[in-house]
Each structure stands twice: as structure tokens, then as C-alpha cells.
Symmetry: C2
Amino acid sequence: MAHDERRLEVLRAIVQDFVSTNDPVGSKALADRHDLGVSPATIRNDMAVLEEQGYITQPHTSAGRVPTDKGYRLFVDRLSAVKPLSVAERRAIERFLDGAVDLHDVLGRTVRLLAQLTRQVAVVQYPTLSRSAVRHLEGVQVAAARLMLVLITDTGRVEQRVVDCPADIDAGAVAELRTLLNSAFSGVKLTDAGGKVPDLLETAPQHLRGLVATVSATLLETLVEPSEDRLVIGGTANLARGSALDFQGTVSPLLEALEEQVVVLRLISEVDAGTVLVRIGEENDHEALTGASLVTVGYGSRDRALGGLGIVGPTRMDYPMNMAAVRAVARYVGQTLAES
Amino acid sequence: MAHDERRLEVLRAIVQDFVSTNDPVGSKALADRHDLGVSPATIRNDMAVLEEQGYITQPHTSAGRVPTDKGYRLFVDRLSAVKPLSVAERRAIERFLDGAVDLHDVLGRTVRLLAQLTRQVAVVQYPTLSRSAVRHLEGVQVAAARLMLVLITDTGRVEQRVVDCPADIDAGAVAELRTLLNSAFSGVKLTDAGGKVPDLLETAPQHLRGLVATVSATLLETLVEPSEDRLVIGGTANLARGSALDFQGTVSPLLEALEEQVVVLRLISEVDAGTVLVRIGEENDHEALTGASLVTVGYGSRDRALGGLGIVGPTRMDYPMNMAAVRAVARYVGQTLAES
DNA sequence: GCTGGCACTCCGACCGTGCGAGTGCCAGCA
DNA sequence: TGCTGGCACTCGCACGGTCGGAGTGCCAGC
């Protein structure tokens, strides 16, 4: 039906206008700003239908219409074309990430970049440990019976743990331990590290058994198991800026949820590299996020996602633009990390 | 003069009441809530004097009085006794920091702890590189002519840099390099590392000269020179919560300044261990901070400060409590770090 | 099935009023 | 000399009523 099609066109127009003006949009304004080819009265009829179907709503009688979460969902799924980034934006991305000196720096720049491009809160996850492999393991003695274990992954993450050893150790033992650990774990994915331990224990010389056992236990417990992943957050000022109206009154529950990290982490890690995932308002389980939308994507090389990144903002956001920005940034980050 | 003394007592009462109620405080309310031994009328006279001296001000005629920055300053310097922490608070501090697995974890917990205790934004600086010494240096080969350099300091910081080498290297060279670097730099303060380089170059075997030169150059350039220090920030939700009124209208410039890091970093690193420093409103140079107060202190062992930590909040804050909290937390952090 | 017209609704801005809190000043008192 | 109670005055703010405008739903006509 050409009927339904126009109705969707009306919905698209409503979303676009509302996103840019933040005012409930009425039939007259719609007819003026878009050439839908019909009169306001007709648009009103369409709007009534859209409202009945749950795509839009009125804040109060005799105000204009506002998209519902369901409306945004339809918009994202069927009504929006991916907005290509401008040349200036592409260049900004390259410039921003260029010259980063280490992983921390790359991710810090990424989060600032994303926040600046989208004017939303940006979130970037450190490369997941569970999907990384060991590049190098290092033991450094910090006390007579205390070792600092340093793990370097192939994604550039560096993690450290202090291990209390069963007995005093000497420099020779440390060197031996290093060799043992690296020959056992080098190149091994962290998820598979557990399987290597029995082997390692067997090959270890008698006098190192206890030490090796303790060290591998710590390694598995604190680094592999809990998959305690990290998050970088930036652009929180964007929350306070315009969005006082978007989030009714207070942004503090949202800020709290962001600092909690755990919540966002769960959401952001459920991503594939390449496919931008959009979660709108009520679609988010967590209460503090029901007024917010998330746009996330995985980054990494095409064969495996290292981690996720994305933005958090009000449901009233420019989805096409943000999706494009998130995707582009993820692509560049993946590239940058692959090079190092 | 008993005269002046009472006037100060009035100022103290005004600060205390205003901090707890957020309402401009009038002469009647003061007489009721504190036994100053005089009538409201007398208090009014004192207030007039205090206002003339610039310690308090009225938002508008016929409202109560509000402390000025100068008033808070006097209060902090002369009118406030350090409020000892409750047993529960002390215990909370211990529990919170106990069980941290590495430096990152310690600082993360610290910032959450501080934010929770003070209900303000908390800021913790990573141990300054320039005041740290090398505990261990490690080179890991990541490509034919590419080395990842990992620096572990005696404060538990781990820093990494990727170095492009002049020529391809092999595993043997890496091992030699490690030995060389560690014997040269181990235990050396980063600020003194530059002086060791000529020596190092001389003792290095011919075939490693180029490599060693490149590596030490990178080491000095990117790790020692810019002293690029890091900051952990937490509790920003506290800004949004009550303080909407404290910061006229918007908190976003403050959030921006916090994300900038550089500003806060400068302020927070000008501290001695042990002495709590308070900066009030206009005393801060940076524009975004003129409506805010900072309470900072250095942490570390008594002989040297590793870094700074503190809180940022509205000028209308409970200074005695916050000063006590900041000091106590710093003490525990210093202790915790000394142990690892 | 679209359109113009029309009556209706309701929010929000505007305005005027009154109240209450708080002040400054003054005369009287210890 | 310094404190006190009294008093007139000021001013912000909460309250309530009014008005206009924007937007709607419905209906009759094309």
C-alpha cells in the first residue's frame, strides 16, 4: 500500500524533527518542513494511526507527537540510511588516533574522539583478556618471598599481580621461572591456559614445583577466571550539557550506572565486530538505562573482536550519525591496534 | 577582645548552618540553633560587620547571609577543628582497600572509597613517574624490528612503549638487552636515568650499541620527560545529585575540566604528604573551578610523596569532615602501597 | 481517501497579590 | 559602651487566575 508507506514517511519525519528540535512535533510543522505531498489534516489521521500502533505518543493533549521507544526502533531498523561521515570527520579520526604511544593512550584517545564526534558519553572496553593470548610473562622479585607477575597479551594489555610465594626465592629461580612460564604459555590463549598447567608442573624441575604451582594458580584465578575487564569512559560532560531535559530531571542514576562499569560492560561485550548494535530505552534491562540508548560495536580485526566500544545517550539521539561514527571509530581502532 | 571572638563564633555558626541546610541563614535562626548568649539584634550587628569585612554576603536584600570564599577561608584556617572519623568510617576504609590485587585496583578502590565517604568527586593521581625508581625493565619482541618496552616501577606502576628498532633483532639480543638495561637502570630514579645512558652505551657490546641507543632514547623521551601522569576520577554522580544548586545551573564546565585532567593534575600534584591543602572557589586559577573547592593531600610514605589525591566539590562543603576523610584515606593508601 | 473548517482542550507564560523572612535603625537600658 | 526589643521597610517567592497559542479530533464536502 502506498498508504502504509506514507505513514512510515511521516514517522521518519517526526523522528528527524524531534531529534533536531526537541519539541513535540505537530501536523502543521511537519507539512511545512517536509514535502509529504499531503495536507496537515491527512497527516493528523496518519499520526492517529501511528499513535494507536504505539510508535508515537503525545506528552499531553494538544501537544505535538513524540516518538516512543518502539518508534525509534522502527526508525533504526527500517527508516534510516547510514549517514556517511564527512571528509573532515574521517580526517579527524585519523589525526586523533595517530601518534598514540601505547594501549592506554589509544583507548584514551578513542574515547575522547568518540565523545567529541557524537556529543554523547563514550565508552571503550579494554581488549578482553579471555580472547587474548599470552605474548610474554615476566616475574619480578619485589621481596624475599614475593613476586610481581606481569602478563603482556598480544593485544597490548599489561596486567600485574603480586604473588606471595611459599618460600623465599633467589634471582636464579626467577630466571628459570620466566623461561618455564614463557615456554609453557607463550602464544596460548588465556582461556586455554588452564589446560597447560599439568604439563607445566610435570616438566618443572623438582625445586621449582611449589613456586610454579602457586604462580600458575594466581595466574588462572585472577587473570583468566573473573575476566575482570576494564572500561574507559569519557564525555560525561555531554550528559550534563543539553540532556537535562532528555533525562527527566536528573542524570545522576545514569552516571552511577556508568561508574558501576559492570552494567555497561555486560552490554558492551555482547557485540560482533562490524555489526552495530542499538539498544533503545526500555530495551535495556537495567533500570538506570531505561531512559537511555546505547549504540555499540565490536572492534578488532575481522576474524575476532577484541572488545566493544560505543556510546550512551538519550533515546532522542541522531541514530544514523552516531551509528556511523561508532562504526568508523571502531574500524580505525581495530586497524591501529593491529599495527602495534 | 571578646568582641571579635564572638563575631568569629557567629561566622563559624553561619558556615556550619549554611553547609548543612543550603539556606541563607538569618539572625533569628542563628540565635535559636546556637547558644551564642546574645540576641538576634546583636547578631545582626555582628553580621553587618562581617559583611563589610567581606566574609559573608546576602544573595539579595532581606535574605539571610551566605559565606563568601573569604569566609570559608577564615573558617578553614582558624575556626574548624579536625573532625575525627568514626569507627565505622575507619573500618570502612580498611575493608575497602583490603584485598586489592594490583596498583590499578588499589587506586580504583581508593577513588570509590573517597567518593563515597565525602559524597564528592574524588580524584587520585597515579604515583608520579618522576619520583619513582626503576624496579625492572623488560623488552618483549612483537615483530622483527619492533620491541615492546615494559617498565615496572617500585611504586607498582607498569608502563609500556613500543619501540621501532634500527634493525631486526633476535631472541638472544633481547635477553642481552634485558640484562644490560636492568643492570644499568635497576633501582635508579627515573629523573636520574638520563645520567646513566653514556655509561650504558659504553659498556654495551658493539653489536647492541644501536639497539641500546634507540631504546634508551625512547625510554627517556616518553617516560621520563613529559612526566605524563595519570588520574583516576570517580563519584561524578555526586556532582549531578545535590549540587545542581551549588553550581549555578550547570555542572558541565566542571565535568569538562575534570576530563581534561591536566588542570586537576597540576593542582593535585602540588602537595606534600601529610599536609592537607584546601583551595576555595576563586583561589583556583582555572575558570571552571572558580565555583568549586579542592581538598588535596599527598600520599606515600613519610619520606616521599608518591602522588596526590583529593576531592572536588562545591565551596559549600563540610570542610572538616572532608579534610579528615582525605587525610585518612591518603594515610591508608600510602600504607597499602608500601606493603606491595 | 484527501482536504479545509471548526470547536475544543490544555499547557505554559504572564501578571498581580500577599505573606513571611530578614534586615537596618533607633531609643532605652544595664 | 554595648546589648536589647521594637518597628517599619524591603524584597523574593509561592500562589492563583487569566489569556493566547498550538495542536488535536471530527465532520462535511470534494
